[in-house]
Subunit: 565 residues, 2 copies
């Protein structure tokens, strides 16, 4: 058995991120052909004259296939190694016009004639070179970060199997795995054995859309054939800190975004239950018919968990559908220490939970869970019998194609299944705990530093920690409107964003630091304004690769980049 070369033994090219063998050397004694490795002899391959048509399924393509994939895997493993090196840059930033301009020979143009496999490998290397290392321990920019290698293995297998979550006939194993995962997640949410339904779908926004779609159908099944004009004017409720996908879904589903009533939050970003209740009463008074409440378990910015149990009481009282958007917070359910924070989630009629966030599954992996069984199928099925034959010789309840608003559906379940095997429920629990420990560590560091200020004084509930950097020039000012105004006031003037022309026009402290950070490529963290709070940084932890030293680095780096602002 031969292994991939380890980095220490590997030839790295001048661009510094290529872990390849001798593919550029033409093979002595062969005319553009491929070398045959003899015993103890180093094989060579010249891929400059070999094309994709020489790979399988072309007869005799096995050898080229092996060589090509070996070279590819070397590039990919090399990339993984680099992503795990703290000293390596997270990104090598270029503006769109630079990348489109054949930067260092990297051409994005689509040719008429084929390019040789050697060039394809160079393209792969360049694609990674100019991308963003989201698995880097100092990448804090997104709720999804890190690169779980078991999950990655799952994705490689999934793409090799190249099938569709459509019918049992073409996806027997993956459909069963999906069912088992969904049942497990339902039981973790706290639903009874005989309850629970669901599906994996392409992202949390679509999961949230499903919840509204199914809730609407549950109350008004005639909507499926007759549309919204057969229904009274509906009202949905969600907090001001919730994800925008609730409003977007209402627009898509033909309810209109105005049907979404925005419920105020307390200072920590949690929906206020009595505000929900008065919002419901007010809507009724206006002649609207409330039917759906979205509670968030883990808001995007603050990581706040709405008081689920209290909200469930309100929903029960008014007979409303309670959806819990736990896209971000669902992972906490895996931790014995933290799952208590989601108490009340078991009373939800539906739950969005994205294992691609806190549980570290590769993108995408999002589940919509529904308490009431069969509703999803009823809501979406159209009995297209030319696609879903009802005269098959097996149990056709696994033919899930008609349950979805998609037709074909990507296999998103396998990677999670494989990760669960490799980590066990316990492993996910420790991973979540570690992320929250990092958040607490950051929180404590921020508490004791004068050059930073926390947005929320309370200990983080999830792994979100929000803060301002206060440059020396502003440090003499006391916290308050004047400092905020100065924090807000930026440097060079920017043109308005043409999509949102009413946007803020000047770069503030945080955007300026972020811009420098991206140019330097040392770390990445997001920022945003929220309510009356001017632009602040939001750090989130979902990457198990991150250590306390990375948290320290982040703060030092922000302080370094922002010192002279």
């Amino acid at each position: 058995m031969e292994y991939l070369k380890l980095p220490g033994e590997v030839k790295v090219d001048d661009k510094g991120d290529r872990i390849m063998g001798s593919s550029n050397k033409p093979l002595a004694g062969q005319k553009g052909g491929l070398g045959s490795p003899g015993a103890g002899e180093e094989p060579h391959a010249d891929l400059s004259q070999i094309y994709s048509k020489d790979l399988l399924p072309t007869t005799g393509g096995e050898r080229v296939t092996c060589i090509f994939f070996q070279e590819l895997v070397n590039i990919l493993i090399g990339y993984i190694f680099k992503s795990n090196e703290r000293s390596s840059k997270i990104l090598d930033f270029h503006h769109p016009h630079q990348l489109k301009d054949n930067l260092e020979g990297f051409s994005l143009d689509l040719p008429d004639q084929p390019e040789p496999l050697e060039q394809i490998l160079v393209d792969c290397r360049d694609t990674l070179k100019y991308g963003v290392k989201t698995g880097h321990p100092r990448f804090f920019n997104q709720l999804s970060s890190g690169l779980d290698l078991i999950g990655l293995a799952g994705e490689w297998l999934t793409s090799t199997a190249n099938t569709n979550m459509f019918t049992y006939e073409v996806s027997p194993v993956f459909l069963l795995m999906e069912e088992i995962l969904l049942k497990k997640m339902q039981s973790i949410v706290g639903w009874a054995e005989e309850e629970g339904d669901g599906i994996f779908c392409p992202g949390g926004a679509i999961s949230n859309l499903y919840s509204i779609l199914v809730a609407r159908y549950d109350f008004y099944p005639e909507v499926k054939t007759k549309g919204m004009s057969a229904l009274p004017r509906l009202a949905l409720f969600t907090s001001e800190h919730s994800h925008y996908s609730v409003r977007k879904s209402a627009a898509v589903l033909g309810m209109g975004s105005d049907s979404v009533q925005v419920v105020p939050c307390d200072e920590s970003g949690k929906m206020i239950p009595w505000e929900l209740e008065s919002s419901i009463i007010e809507a009724k008074a206006k002649g609207l018919v409330p039917f759906y409440v979205n509670a968030t378990a883990g808001t995007t910015v603050y990581g706040a968990v709405d008081p689920l149990a209290a909200i469930a009481v309100v929903c029960h009282q008014h007979q409303l559908w309670l959806h819990v958007d736990a896209a971000w917070g669902g992972g906490l359910l895996m931790s014995r220490r933290h799952r208590v924070k989601l108490q009340g989630i078991e009373r939800a009629s539906s739950v969005t939970w994205n294992p691609h966030k806190m549980m570290g599954a590769p993108l995408q992996c999002s589940a919509i869970l529904l308490k009431k069984r069969g509703l999803l199928q009823e809501c979406n099925q159209l009995c297209a019998d030319y696609l879903f034959q009802n005269d098959k010789h097996y149990d056709m309840s696994y033919d899930t194609g008609d349950k979805t608003i998609q037709c074909g559906r990507h296999v998103d379940a396998f990677k999670l299944w494989l990760m669960w095997k490799a980590k066990g429920s316990e492993g996910f629990g420790s991973q979540v705990n570690k992320c929250l420990e990092n958040a607490e560590y950051l929180y404590k560091q921020l508490q004791r530093r004068a050059d930073f200020k926390l947005v929320l004084e309370s200990k983080p509930e999830h792994s979100n920690v929000c803060f301002w950097y206060i440059p020396p020039s502003l440090r003499k000012l006391p916290p308050g409107p004047e400092r905020n105004r100065r924090l807000h006031k930026g440097g060079r003037k920017k043109k308005a964003h043409h999509h949102c022309p009413d946007g803020i026009l000047k770069l503030q402290v945080a955007p300026q630091i972020k811009a420098k950070m991206m140019e330097e490529g040392t770390t990445m963290i997001g920022y945003q304004p929220l309510g009356s709070n001017v632009n602040f940084f939001r750090c989130v932890f979902s990457n198990p690769a991150t250590q306390q030293e990375d948290v320290d680095f982040l703060l030092e780096e922000i302080a370094r980049l922002g010192y002279n602002l």
Copy 2:
């Protein structure tokens, strides 16, 4: 440089599909540790005591990472080799209860405690073993088939990069590639340089949904905030042979499936333009407001292409949005020989085109193309400035997150970009031509055989060929209602499908053959009834691995399995 072992040199285990090295041998002289390969010495590794926590990002995890991925890649490459062997089974069919019952030690259950990497690799091997080899040259079951190895390489890289089509900040290269691909596809459709917009989305059904969503917004922008109740009663038009996603989308979007007017087709499955026109007039007379016509370029069953130019004339006259669902037929545009069949597509306001079908890209890869620029963004944006900051230092028009109904979005563009590099436009053209040559070959074989009967007498327009097998017991009957009744009449009685209780209750000839085929695992082909035609087989060609010998095999196999019915 060391390569993967070639199949000839490889140890295959007793399950017959494992191409692995010595991972089961404990390494001499080490306690459960990993071997270090010396010069000329065969390295060993015992993964039975190694866990996912020993992989990167754990310090020093490089070695375990290499070994694990080498083993994994061996399994995957071995699977690819097997998929390309005509003699290997396409599937090893088991019923759901069998697979759930720890078949041969393959447990689908999710553990609390981690399993060692050795078990993870066994799980991977078993997952493939009990799955369906969709890349096998004799897999004809789905519009998507084959396994393009460059596309696969693209998927492996995509999952390694593990990022999101959200903002330029986290996906600079992939977003530019998407833009370049969409522009190319738009120019191939025939739109002018200054026209064209679009996005890759999770499957053709969602692409079709986008087309209706955007069309509705174009006519009635107030729908976004006010919902359907602010609009007149709309009417959509699509042919009786079109994909069910038009009806499903109308239901999802709150128009109701009844708003979809089904336009009759001619015998070959093409929409009849004058029927469309009278359908529009009729709808208007009923007080409905027509706004959208879906024309299909490549129907699911017959592969029929609606007369696009004639339909465009009707749409123009009535000022309706013309969408062309070319999910399946779009690939024909890549062929100089066949693109003429889609003449008129350039007059569409939107086009669905799935490169994961005829162009052979791995699942999923579907594009919605829109002629009018900016509409997609206007229709979907909510200016969530906590996610899409408008004060960044780069050109924010590449931040596409607010264009979509998703939030995060999987990178579906890269694999197609890489394939385009490796094949060139020309390569896609030849691939499409070859699939249509296979279809024509099958058509000719069926014409000259007495034991088969074509559903359509005319030469196939796309790569779909539909036919009945007539067992000897029915061959003396002339074609007509009596033979159809007997073809229809099946063997053992089946329970009604609980989802579609009005379904056909007996196994007919085609379903019986299909059931036997799946038990034997030699080939796979779909069947369905359509209109007044009782269950017939539909063969489709999208896998470049398929040769004429495979077509011959298919017919012989059907004849063999069905002979005694």
